[in-house]
Symmetry: C2
Subunit: 484 residues, 2 copies
């Protein structure tokens, strides 16, 4: 298997994750008539070798989703070896002492299952969805490759071309992805979240078998992993199977998370302008550095989720109603809060102007909306609608085994607890109008932001004769204080 | 000794270094009548333990300058431990097995000498200037602390307060330094040159004795050091002394430079606007990522030095004549090329507008000058004057033992050779008008730049009621293509 689903969590994946992060207990009780099983709850225990296990029962159909999460991601890569976490994820589908090269996914497929894997800044996860009676087999296989991975030079080099091609198709050929990558590199002044999960091309091209094995040996071990099984199983069953498979893998006492550099203060507004003739239309983007669910004050991340739902999500959002409907400045708009990372979160907004409207006008329109929210907050009706909207999404996504497994797996992997996860709906319900206004005032802070513009033009050629100055700026009359 | 000279090379130090980097052979022959010894040349050899030694004779007075350069600097720090290279430099003045705490500099002083040390991104250097008959003593002392450093917890904690205070006085209380720090953090998307040599405050506050000892043991060894002695000595004398002192220190076979992450492509112009009420006047700053003398094509770095001399150095420069003299836009201007680093260089320009002129107008004025140079290059007269100006500076600085020692030490430490250093004047002399125009066209590339503006205002308070939008932008009429 060389091409796998969302190996690198792109924005849509993260957003979907955000939407599935919260538990559904209270909501399900209050609102749901379907699905039949309304309130999934997790059972957790730990194996003798330190591997954490979480089971979420769902007996509606005789299938299971089996995921192993490693507490390691791109942000744990050694300097200069960007992309190795994701590369290793690919290489985990090569051979072990008992599974021949490339057979892992074929075996799962022959058993009637599906499998996949993905890598983020904080997590690397492997999963299978399969008939319940096949669970022992996939657990044995996953435990096997936790410790017995074999990498042959030739396989490694072949797979390196695959990830390079993945970068070319997803990033290099996508001006919007390129801008996002450069904006992240600017947003983080020191933290490795500024580096792309897939890696910088020049570093990917040098990734070696030794790099992959060193990363594997350092981070892949039962005491650095979390097993999540959702579906038609009982906790005791999973415990027995886990002890018979993962339980046989010795703990690695040397597993130790790299101390990641944390951000220094962000002191000033930053901007970037990318010109690329391949960009279909001009677009405006802004990211704000913010806390994550792990690092925020109690209730703050929940308030940010609700805030951004009201401000930027969908056609009832403030930005859409103001820029698209009322002022006819933008053809599309959007935005969200990403709070799922271990060390920090991010607030994002974007807009695409309609023909004849400048990016600056769209930016001024968005700033007007954000400024109003910072000062005045949102309305009670908006808050209520946002809460209900999240509840509906959570309920819907709780109906899906993979979403459930991802909800628990991701949160636990970044350091949260089952209790955190399952109290989530309560915490969302408790957010007040004041909480939202305070979060907006505090975190929509231009000094912690990067503003990016994507312009469908040939980049200025600094060698072109008689070109207009590449960086001529509008000249406001004020001596200082305006953006210059 | 707790307060020492330019421990962290600030811009003036780097500029002075640039100015002293080049050899003086040809120039001295052609131009000089004084000093008596016109053409210093180095003798080099290597000790059995791998320590490189360079001797530059200067018999005019019975004094010597003794420097030890370690091939390690802030860019070699482990992630999250920023500032440790500079902190260790401070701690090297604490105790060894034979020198009591804080006595090192006092002993040098009692011998009639002066000593100091500094840390850069690529180098850490220790030096003494002393009567020639005291050279054996300082060599023995320097060799002693290369291997016998003792650090007591209490001394380490006390000294940590010193570096924190150093950061506060030089950076935190200096808006211009803060802007420079944030601009560097943006200019480098991945390379550690983006992190400040002195360190991020939150990381400095956590630096420990163990961090310092680990860094010391990893990087301080004769096979990772270069000894430079200038002054009233002969190479054979230095060889004997070095063998008797440094020669006794065993090589560390594990010394290995960390592979530093190199930069990905820089794709788009970046900007930052820092508001700080402590800033005396508004100012405009721009940095371009460029090659260094180590990484440039042959002749390219020399061309950049000459280019920036013509464009931005002093009152005869193009920027000064255009913005200060002709158009009366700026009160002061400047700029230079910094080519002395191992992995990349930087081009810098700045200007302070006169009252009533906007930063945008100053920026447009500078861009006009740079654009003309990119298209048309400079004139033969300008090139000739720039060459002569460098020659005069080099000659002047060659007259100084410390400058000479620094010239050889720095260049060798970043990977250049004695031959590179001594051929320098020839290479400068060979630069053509076409070389300069090509270098300008290639490297004054806005896509590889960061533009910073410093505005003497209170930062926008995002919580202020009824504040104007923090980030209201001038709205140009064009739909796209202008800066928005």
């Amino acid at each position: 298997m060389t091409i796998r689903g969302p190996s690198v969590p792109t924005l849509p994946l993260l957003r979907s994750f955000i939407a599935t992060l919260l538990g559904t207990l209270m909501l399900a009780t209050a609102l749901m008539t379907e699905p039949a099983q309304a309130t999934p709850k997790a059972t957790e225990f730990t194996l003798a070798n330190g591997m954490k296990v979480v089971v979420v029962e769902d007996h509606r159909a005789p299938v299971v989703t089996h995921m192993v999460w490693y507490r390691v991601g791109a942000a744990d890569e050694p300097p200069g070896v960007s992309g190795i976490a994701h590369f290793l994820e690919h290489l985990m589908f090569k051979s072990t002492d008992t599974i021949p090269n490339g057979e892992f996914s074929k075996i799962v497929s022959r058993l009637g299952g599906q499998d996949n894997a993905f890598t983020g800044q904080d997590v690397t996860a492997y999963f299978q969805r399969i008939a319940k009676d096949r669970l022992p087999t996939v657990m044995a296989m996953e435990a096997d490759r936790m410790v017995n991975l074999r990498l042959e030079e030739k396989e490694v080099l072949t797979e390196r071309n695959v990830i390079l091609e993945e970068r070319r198709s997803r990033t290099e050929n996508n001006p919007s992805a390129l801008l996002g990558e450069q904006m992240d590199a600017m947003l983080y002044l020191s933290h490795p979240y500024g580096l792309p999960v897939i890696g910088w091309e020049h570093e990917m091209a040098a990734l070696s078998r030794e790099d992959a094995m060193a990363f594997y040996k350092r981070f892949y071990a039962p005491n650095n992993a979390i097993l999540v099984v959702t579906g038609d199983v009982f906790p005791d069953e999973v415990r027995k199977l886990a002890e018979a498979t993962y339980g046989k893998v010795p703990a690695n006492p040397d597993v130790k998370m790299r101390g990641r550099p944390m951000e220094p203060p962000h002191r000033a507004a930053r901007r970037i302008e990318l010109k690329d003739p391949r960009a279909g239309r001009p677009s405006f983007h802004r990211s704000y550095y913010a806390p994550s669910y792990v690092t925020a004050e109690p209730g703050e991340a929940e308030a940010l989720d609700l805030l951004m739902k009201v401000v930027a999500s969908g056609s009832t959002s403030r930005i859409y109603r103001s820029l698209v409907v009322a002022d006819k400045l933008a053809a599309s708009t959007g935005g969200w809060y990403s709070g799922s990372a271990r060390d920090s979160g991010k607030i994002t907004v974007y807009a695409v102007p309609v023909d004849g409207v400048s990016l600056a006008a769209v930016e001024a329109g968005i700033d007007k909306v954000l400024d109003t929210v910072r000062r005045e907050g949102i309305t009670a009706a908006e808050l209520e609608r946002a809460k209900k909207s999240y509840l509906a999404e959570y309920v819907y996504e709780s109906d899906n085994q993979a979403s459930l497994a991802r909800r628990y797996g991701w949160s636990l992997t970044v350091g949260r607890t089952v209790k955190d996860i399952e109290e989530w709906p309560d915490r969302i319900a408790k957010v007040t109008l004041e909480d939202v206004q305070k979060a907006a005032a505090k975190h929509l802070d231009i000094r912690r932001s990067v503003t990016g513009t994507l312009i469908p033009e040939k980049p200025d050629d600094p060698t072109a004769a008689a070109a207009a100055p590449a960086n001529s700026a509008p000249v406001p009359a004020a001596r200082a204080g305006g953006r210059t």
